[in-house]
Symmetry: D2
Subunit: 333 residues, 4 copies
């Protein structure tokens, strides 16, 4: 309560909290009175009392997520995709082109990915482009091409779902469904994915706090789908040299607050091919459970995101250097 | 090009630009060589050449949106919703509760809105809540209640669409469909709304630049729906005293760059009832074409957003003060 | 405390708090134990206990500033500069060029300022330029020219002090000393200005929170100089259309939290002449106590900040429109 | 120029550019006319023409810094402090307490630093505290204590200078002078340090762009002091879990744009002891030339910054893991 809050104001707050099921404890100090509410409704909006007369400030003590919190599974969750484990001792590399463009391109990409030692291929079939005049993806045809390319090399597949109506299609061809940064708070989509029984990779929105990432994971998990992988891919700041600012400290933060595996996407995190290798190495050093990266056999002619796609030889060199760093954290690549 | 770029590097860039249909002009200075590309593909990704060897930096001169640009309709667009005009001499006020909760609540809200002199009622039927455990809206029942409450008082209706599958339902009961900040780059939704022939109010995402707002408007317009209203509702910054930081300068900026009407939402822009009146007055002074605000007959017990909803008497006082400010800009409220 | 915190961890925290003079209250709930510390040292760093084992989070209840808080002078402070009152019923306009360039320029600026009805002239003698190769100001000569131009027209003078060594010089010629945004946390400078007995205008840093602005004011006031004027001049965000994003909601926020007058600087707040009039009008509508603006007889040839300086006729038109808006808030210009 | 710009407007811009010494090239396209200015004044303010009538936008091609740019010393600068080299094959670790508190404390810190294998001790004698009521440092006495502790163990000394008046004192006891984040644009201080002939470590301001960091380095270098070390220590973003968001991609970015060595400060970058080791490892993996970290023999009782100071055993463990990562980048620690 504010300095000088009246007893009537204090009683009004207590009454409001009791209405929502709280037990209220009152501590009177020389300057301030502090009210503590215990119990109450899970979704209680603290802002309601924050604006009442005489209130100085309100703090929520209990995190508004439960299933996603570390306490729910202190040992950490390992997600299995066939024989690939995400969240275990091996750092999982998912790589491939931004979009599936045609048969030849995805086959060449799959070669690069497999030869480099990665275990999962990525590639978009439906592309969320900020301009309506840009290439929008091959749709189901792209998924078929990628699935075949993957199967021939023993790779798993991850691809982005943009809309609840696409879930069936994506689930048919893809081992992991990815939720893009722009859809991190598309709650209808999250709710539908909660009904699925396949792993979901949830990308952090460019303006999302760490708590909001975990609340979005909670949406999916509250539907019964506990196989959620979190992904740091850069946030928007005032700095424009990189497309986004990769918040590497979010990786240990998410791992401390949650039991879910956390992967890093240095391609979107920087938007610049020349910075991807350094930031991928830093991601492994900071303790990520996996990497998601773009690689293309001819980035200069990619139909999307060419500027952040690695050249084949860059990817292969990078994989080698990651293997030198991982053991410092007791892991392999 | 960088200082010291080789002729071979320069030729490679020229060739790459020509491939995409550009005419290239080359200016050689003492320190730098500058290449200018004219023509080319509309969706050319400048980042592709930005990362090529020898390139120092790339600037796009032509804005990537056209239909949304001021040049497309220099006089400015006035959107008619029955006898209500948005973008004309009268500043349009849209007000109502965050969510439609029940018959009594929306009737009381409609009284407050109509008595205050506003012409459009707002209210959510489907609520995008960041926690899966919060109230999610009444759905169609809420829309019916609000439509009836509006019709009895000659008000128009605006309500939010969260998913392409809801468009038919919303279009049946609502005069204007609102796209929430979290969906500003939900491109599937934008594309579907482009096929509609009803006005759409597009809210700026909390991390969206002014250019991105206009690109999202372009998505809708490129489908043939030219009735787009833009809305500033606060961006996310480091300041936490307000829920968001309302970027009032975006209003004259959008009006300069685009012919579309621009409204302000000080309720979400601040997240605090005590700051809404001052920011609403500032929005009128800065030249907005309309206001979108939350008002509730009993904000302390609202099921959502109570903390930013005005009390009835605050709303009525505010409407009076807005009428004093509008004439300074040659307008009425 | 975290869920599952041990009694030993709890006792260790209690002991640490008692060491620093706190009385500690302990509330045990089903899930969490909450410890409340009352009293203790003013400058206690909450982060110290935040990182101790078993602690979930720590919240400071008492604001770390006192002299600057609203409670210290609930009626609000009015600062007198001769017959000019800042913080009273009249909104004070301070205007003039970015830099004093020469006799003719400052005389013409003083004419524009006085003719427009402003009461204080601004102008820099020492310029903090981000490039070492830019014009750095006329120094004392500039101050003499501006003082004379002001005295001939009954204007007061405000000018920026960049360094403690300049305080004597500035105090000799200027009625108000301005602290630039870059120096808002130059604590040596703040401390020295605390010993002065002249009004100080403190600009918000581009990355400073509202609380930090008040802490910097506290620095000055703790030295005995209570005449501090706060100034919102834009913060840095991801939006680049304007040089800074003017946070107009900071004005009512600062007025709620503090008794000190708050002025707005739309010239630096936007960095664009074409947006200054709209944002100046919005600042008056939001309730500012004064305005600080740049005006130049020939902005296209100004030695600094030409792009954000108003043309003389713009300034005169703007002053007229401000007089129409101020009465809506019960004030005059 | 804007679409539809008149010939008169174009001629006015050309004339304005020629006035400032530019050669102007004009390219006329179907939609736009592009004017290119070559030569001109180094400190030309592009905003001046940006706001002239008919202008669409202005881009500066030549970076406004020279001495700090990579092109000035393509091989990279190695700064020698006695036998310690910063910018060479060995990653230099600078560690120590936030403040020098007393003889015993700094001696114990020096033992930890030396035993861990670091070569430079850090410690503040003058503390820039955001509250005027906090511990402000021991002054010269602190410098003497730290110098003695360093000399007894063959360590070098780095300490922060807060004001031009302290330069003599700092230079007498310290091998490297540090400019804090809050002073990054204290141009008077930068100019005075330009006259010194000792290495200066320049911290990035919390809201400073990469270009602004380099412009501040240019200030120092333009005075003749070429021994500048850059330091990334976190920027301010919307995320509040960490005190700042460490922008690790700034390290390779600064190394690409400049020849100066770049060090990382994960203590201030995160503000949380539990994240310092992970971010220190990531800094080495990303390619930093050195680390600046806080360590204290008893962080729970440190007079400042205890929450981000490492425990002695954490520091020693960290040093070991850094030695495993450095070889992946061809370096040692």
């Amino acid at each position: 309560m504010q300095q000088g809050a009246t007893e009537a104001q204090i009683q009004k707050i207590i009454q409001r909290l009791v209405e929502d099921g709280f037990d209220v404890h009152k501590s009177t100090g020389v300057i301030h009175t502090v009210l503590g509410g215990v119990g109450g409704k899970d979704d209680f909006d603290t802002a309601v009392v924050a604006l009442m007369e005489g209130v100085k400030e309100v703090h929520r003590i209990l995190a508004p997520y439960k299933l996603a919190s570390r306490g729910f599974n202190p040992a950490g969750t390992v997600i299995k995709v066939g024989d690939v484990e995400i969240g275990g001792g091996k750092i999982v590399v998912m790589a491939g082109p931004c979009s599936v463009e045609n048969h030849d391109q995805i086959e060449r990409a799959a070669d690069i990915v497999a030869d480099g030692g990665a275990s999962i291929i990525r590639g978009g079939a439906f592309k969320p482009r900020s301009s309506p005049y840009s290439f929008q993806g091959l749709g189901e045809e792209g998924l078929i091409l990628m699935r075949n390319a993957a199967d021939r090399r023993g790779l798993k597949v991850i691809s982005e779902v943009m809309d609840a109506s696409q879930i069936g299609l994506l689930a048919a061809y893809s081992d992991i469904l990815q939720i893009g940064a722009r859809n991190m708070q598309n709650f209808n989509l999250l709710r539908e994915l909660g009904k699925l029984r396949k792993p979901v990779l949830l990308k952090r929105g460019i303006a999302a706090t760490i708590e909001e990432v975990l609340l979005s994971a909670e949406y999916i998990m509250s539907g019964g789908n506990y196989e959620v992988i979190l992904c740091e891919r850069g946030i928007r700041t005032f700095e424009t040299y990189t497309r986004n600012t990769m918040d590497l400290s979010a990786i240990p933060a998410l791992q401390k607050l949650s039991h879910l595996p956390v992967v890093a996407d240095p391609s979107h995190g920087t938007g610049r091919r020349d910075m991807v290798p350094a930031m991928a190495r830093a991601s492994v050093a900071v303790g990520c459970d996996g990497l998601l990266m773009e690689v293309h056999h001819d980035p200069d002619h990619a139909l999307s995101d060419g500027a952040q796609s690695l050249y084949p030889e860059q990817f292969s060199e990078l994989m080698k250097s990651l293997r030198l760093i991982a053991p410092a954290g007791g892991r392999t690549v």
